[in-house]
Symmetry: C2
Subunit: 396 residues, 2 copies
């Protein structure tokens, strides 16, 4: 009763001193407590115990040390198991009941659930959202107790009752490579993609910037010469750009600064969601970074019942080390051609993961690591899961 | 040099006492001030004056009286003109300059604009965002000065330099009905669609609820019987649903309550964006609604250069009175068949607007207004713009 094949490769090849990526992969048995409340007694009687089986894969990309990623890889599946068990009575129903005990105090309750279009799937999504929050709290406690620092991103995939849930907080990415199409299963949370949320927080609570940063975005860092001129800028409410008369205060370092891989939150972090960083302060200041970070994932759901899954269809999960140098289309092309060429190899999925990692790592030419197409290779840690979807356990 | 045809119909047919919808439609001449700063002198010299021509259509759906909608219909185009003029030097360039004066103090500036992918279009979007904010301030002042109350939604379309910009704050809607496709040009902002933003604000500033409301969402209003039970709920960070042990405080009226057309913010408003309502308080309390409202529009852009516009292609703008009873698909079907059947009628676009309004108004059967398909007709005010796209002025 295990998933047919799943494989992961991590390569660090001396590019950085320590590998900060972590991975986890396991089966999660969700216990269903069929409980009944005895009349006149205030204790629960366990009538029977049944299990729902879920499958779980996760990648964590650490920063400021591997500790947060290590704790996350040891705890997140446990938090998910716990949160799923809390709602296990609801997720086996097509429509979750208004009351978890199943004791409806109002006959018309199902009508309201129906009106709000609440399905079992929504309760699984809620459990994942709560599990991420719980896991961040656990990491905060563990790191404080052991005087460790740092944080990590989190990308988790869960297969449960015929559906794939991908929860993402950070800049890792998951895509489904199917026969005729590529389905993105996550989007990245970085200081650039979350600029408006971050600026809005700084607008609501200016003290968070302690007079050291400006919340405005400019195309480049302003200089003394710019004061008194009108330059391009964006505030929290703007998707477009405007012009602003530059004042001295605008010369401060911007809350969100830089472009692409160089974008930073408070000049410190390249991601805006993830776990940890509870103690992180901007260097040489008392400014805390944590208030700007979110540990809440965006969850995307893929329903296998609505798709005809083919033999070579796979879920690819990888840290930014892969996606920095390969786009979805390139990865999909490599996946399809590799699997077509190696149809009889029983290890072809793990070989594919290795192949993707090696491609992103590149080859050493002199002092540089280069891709096949002569672009610079990835200097980051690279972790890849290749998860075949065809022979999945149907009845779990 | 005017737009070929544009037409609008408003019908109120005694369903409500006053029609609270307002509309506006005009040409906006954006003055380009070519200015130069004389050395050693602190005043500007106007060297030459050129004009950019824009076309503007807007719908405002008032609540709590028609006053805010009337002011908005008189002022928004002026605010847009003003904000466009402030950046006129930038929007005629393919890439807006870092400095509005055009005096780059740094040779590498264009590089940063390029790196951030800033285009003239983004500066127009920024001008619209700022114009909406300015208009809301004007309305606040006007309403206070004349002791009037109320608010309104705002949906504005602007055609400028080959592109159509649709800015929306509220629950009106604009769609492009093209030969083979329907392009949604706006999305609705209601207490339901903005639940997470509203709940997050209440989480950050609990005082805004003054102990009278709960920020949690439940499928229905909770009752005394629910206390001590676990019921379905959502908090600000959840797209999914969880279960919460009900406490007494959860029996308070929810910040966002009801479903679909019945959804209300603070039990008071059916929309979460728009103008006005500066003085609005929840009935019998000191709780202000304005902090939860946003006047910032979401702007969608349609580039005519990328599409082959056909003779019957139109932009449909309408208040919720239309969309409550007709979906995009039904409207698109009516648009296409009506225009195909009336190809020679010079007034066919205005006739189509009338036809759409009449369809949504329905027919009186006894005491009820019914649609052709025997569903209930719209009881709200109904305003519709039909704007043909084919014979637009190319050179403005």
């Amino acid at each position: 009763l295990t998933w047919s094949v799943c494989t992961r490769r991590v390569i660090n090849v001396d590019k950085s001193e320590f590998n900060e990526d972590q991975a986890a992969c396991c089966q999660i048995s969700v216990r269903r407590r069929e409980s009944s409340l005895e009349e006149d007694q205030e204790w629960l009687i366990l009538c029977s115990t049944q299990f729902l089986t879920a499958y779980y894969w996760a990648l964590f990309d650490g920063h400021g040390g591997p500790e947060a990623a290590i704790i996350a890889s040891n705890y997140l599946h446990y938090c998910i198991k716990q949160k799923l068990e809390e709602v296990a009575g609801a997720i086996v129903e097509a429509q979750p009941p208004m009351h978890l005990s199943g004791r409806c105090v109002c006959d018309s309750d199902p009508q309201f659930v129906e009106e709000k279009h609440i399905h079992a799937e929504d309760v699984v999504v809620g459990a994942l959202e709560n599990a991420f929050q719980e896991c961040d709290e656990v990491i905060g406690q563990e790191m404080e107790a052991t005087s460790q620092t740092g944080g990590c991103t989190a990308l988790a995939a869960l297969y449960l009752q015929g559906k794939l849930y991908v929860a993402n907080a950070g800049d890792s990415r998951a895509i489904l490579v199917l026969k005729d199409t590529v389905v993105p299963m996550s989007c990245e949370f970085t200081p650039e993609t979350e600029r408006q949320r971050l600026q809005h927080l700084a607008f609501l609570f200016p003290k968070l910037l302690d007079g050291e940063f400006t919340r405005f975005e400019f195309p480049r860092r302003l200089k003394g010469d710019d004061v008194g001129q009108k330059v391009l800028y964006r505030d929290y409410f703007m998707e477009g750009w405007g012009y602003k008369l530059v004042e001295k205060a605008d010369l401060k370092y911007p809350l969100v600064h830089g472009h692409g891989k160089q974008a930073r939150l408070l000049g410190t972090l390249a991601v805006s969601r993830g776990f940890g960083d509870h103690q992180l302060k901007v260097i040489d200041t008392n400014i805390e970074v944590k208030p700007f970070l979110s540990c809440i994932p965006k969850v995307n759901v893929f329903d296998f019942a609505l798709h005809d899954i083919q033999e070579d269809d796979v879920l690819i999960m990888a840290t930014d080390g892969l996606w920095d140098v390969l786009c979805n289309k390139e990865v999909a092309h490599m996946v399809r051609s590799f699997l077509a060429e190696n149809r009889t190899d029983p290890h072809r999925f793990s070989e594919l993961a290795k192949c993707l990692v090696c491609r992103a790592r590149g080859k050493k030419r002199g002092h540089q690591w280069m891709l096949d197409d002569s672009h610079e290779a990835s200097y980051d840690d690279i972790s890849v899961f290749v998860i075949p979807l065809h022979n999945r356990v149907e009845d779990c």
